[in-house]
Structure formats: C-alpha cells, structure tokens
C-alpha cells in the first residue's frame, strides 16, 4: 500500500461519515456542515488519485469544487435564515410543506 492509497481510504471515510451526518442530524445548519464534510472527502480523493496517476487535473478540479462549496454555503445558509425568519423552522423534521 502506498501513501496516496492510504489517503484515498481516509477520503472515503470522510465522504461516508458526511453522508451519515446528513442522514442522522436534525439541525439544518449541521446538515449543511455534513455536506461540507463530503466535499472535503471528494477533494482529498481527487488529490490522492492525482498522485497515483501523475496528473494535475485532479488538483484543478478540486479547486473548482472549493469554489462551488463557497457558493453553496452562501446560498444554503441564506435559505436557512430565510426559512427561520418566515416560518420559525430550524429542524429538518418541521419542514413538511413546499409552500404555505
């Protein structure tokens, strides 16, 4: 086993624990944090696979993933704040209707 392979295993662990966090958490903000954990795992996987095959595309792709993560956080947290202000919701189990 080489070192990039070990990092690929760690990235798998990060991705699946982020998925577990999305499933088990009830707080909307912490669900978004778990999604960030998944994105971190994907970034680590891209960079370690990059070392395995000897390219640079993985690093560039994970740079774009970083950009999209920043945009996702801005819009997602704005949605959470708007949802709280209009309805007073903070937990994922309270949102059962799409409108009204």
């Amino acid at each position: 086993m080489s070192i990039p392979q070990a990092y690929a295993i760690i990235s798998l662990f990060l991705f699946f624990s982020g998925l577990l966090g999305i499933i088990i958490r009830r707080n909307l903000i912490l669900i978004l944090v778990s999604a960030e954990l998944m994105l971190n795992g994907v970034n680590l996987a891209l960079v370690s696979f990059d070392r395995m095959v000897g390219g640079i595309e993985g690093q560039i792709l994970s740079l774009f993933v970083l950009t999209v993560a920043a945009a996702e956080v801005a819009v997602g947290l704005a949605l959470v704040v708007a949802l709280f202000r209009l309805k007073g919701y903070e937990g994922s189990s309270e949102i059962t209707n799409l409108r009204d």
């Binding site: 990092y7 760690i10 778990s34 954990l37 960079v47 690093q59 956080v73 007073g88």
Partner: protein, 159 residues
C-alpha cells in the same frame, strides 16, 4: 517516518469527524469541523498540493466556518438547541449500510496497484489553470457573483 505523518493526520481527522457527527451543541460541532479542515489541509501539504492546502485554510477555515458561526448568532439559541440530538433509529439503520459501502469501495482501491508519482509542481498547475482551464475559471467567478447576489436576495428582511 512518512507513515507516522499519515497516521497522525488520519487519527486527527477520525476523532474530529466523530465530533462533527455526534456533538450536541452546533457551535462545538462546527469547531470540530474546523479541526477536520486543518487535518485535511495538512494531508494536502503532505501530498504535495501546496496551492490547495493554502486555499483550504483561506476559504474553508477562515470564511466558511466564520460564516456558519455568524448565522448561528442570528437564530435564537433556544431554537438552535432544540435539535441538537441525533436521530437514533436512522443512526442504527444507516451505519451498517455505510460501513459496508466504505469497505466495498476501499477494496476497489486496494485491488489496483498504482505507482506513486512525484507531486506536480505549482508552476505547472498555475500554467494549466490559466491556459487550458481558463474558461472554467471565468465561469467559476461568474458563479460566485451569482451566488452572492442570490444570497443577498434570499436573505433580505422583506423578501
């Protein structure tokens, strides 16, 4: 020696990931996420991706974590604390499935023998970013602008 670094960062990421998953207070969970980010940034540095390690620190550790804490301060604390616990039935149902899928995917990584190539230089990454990936870079900047305008429009008080 190199394996010591891998084990150190791996254990660090493992412990703080458990904190993100199971800590009750949202602020504590977010601080534990910050710890995950620092560990992943160290892994990037070890893998030879210096640009990504720096960007991870600047974008994630500085801007995104601060943004999360800022949003928590806008919501009343009693409302935030009400949903601190994890969902126990979903935890019991999802954990075996996710452990199984982790094992299956990692067996695919173990099966193939990869070579360990030297890390690409920062110069080649920058050159490729501004020549063959110039259009995606510009599209990313437009995406950030649209996200900023959208966040302001959604989060406004009289929306």
């Amino acid at each position: 020696m190199e394996w010591l670094i891998v084990i150190f960062f791996g254990l660090w990421a493992f412990i703080s990931t458990l904190g993100v998953l199971f800590l009750k207070s949202p602020v504590h969970a977010i601080l534990s996420f910050l710890s995950v980010i620092l560990a992943v940034s160290g892994m990037f540095l070890h893998l030879g991706a210096e640009l990504l390690a720096g960007l991870q620190l600047v974008i994630y550790a500085v801007s995104i974590v601060v943004f999360y804490v800022l949003v928590i301060t806008t919501i009343p604390w009693e409302k935030v604390k009400r949903f601190g616990k994890v969902n126990l039935t979903q935890l019991l149902l999802a954990t075996p499935v996710l452990i199984l899928s982790t094992l299956i995917t990692s067996s695919a990584i173990f099966e193939v023998e990869f070579k360990d190539s030297p890390p690409p230089s920062l110069e080649s990454v920058g050159k490729s970013l501004f020549s063959s990936y110039l259009l995606p870079l510009e599209v990313a900047s437009i995406l950030l602008l649209v996200a900023m305008v959208g966040a302001i429009a959604i989060g406004r008080k009289d929306a």
